[in-house]
Symmetry: C2
Subunit: 101 residues, 2 copies
């Protein structure tokens, strides 16, 4: 398992805010924040078409909000919680609605 080379080393505030300023991407981030494990690209709870979803993942990845790892032919996504918290403490907590049970 290797880190995604597209992941940003440092998080840039306007890029991060732009990436989060979309209902689909915000929902993907919410699902990741409520998950203890990585989520494969095809396993998100969404009605968005696969190609559109890839576009959204790319924006989140480039902003440094998520990281994608390849494992056994799957693309597994995780939220970069520590990096986000280090750069913008409390941001995710401020904007994410509570996870559904």
């Amino acid at each position: 398992m290797t880190s995604d080379p597209q992941a940003s080393a440092s998080l840039e505030v306007t890029t991060v805010l732009h990436a989060l300023a979309d209902p689909v991407r915000l929902d993907l981030v919410r699902q990741l924040s409520g998950s203890d494990t990585a989520i494969a690209c095809g396993r998100f709870d969404t009605t968005v078409a696969k190609s559109t979803l890839s576009h959204h993942f790319k924006i989140l990845r480039k902003a440094g909000i998520i990281a994608t790892h390849r494992q056994g032919g799957q693309a597994l996504n995780v939220l970069r919680t520590a990096e986000m918290e280090a750069s913008f403490p409390g941001l995710l907590r401020a904007i994410l609605p509570p996870s559904r049970p």
Copy 2:
């Protein structure tokens, strides 16, 4: 002095994030957050042209982040800190760099 009718009653997360996802607007918000008093449109520390600035103020106002009041021929801007904090606790603190002294 009356409230701006364009100010949103309730703040919508993606609209707010989009409004903040711009370096000029984020800087206007930073200046307002560091000010004890309202700031007239022409008194911000910026090199942006007046017409462009009006556009940015409009986006911030429509998102509900700032309110503009007219007083004595001036348009005075304030940050809607209480409303922002009620809707997204800690958001402004998370993304605004410390005010310059």
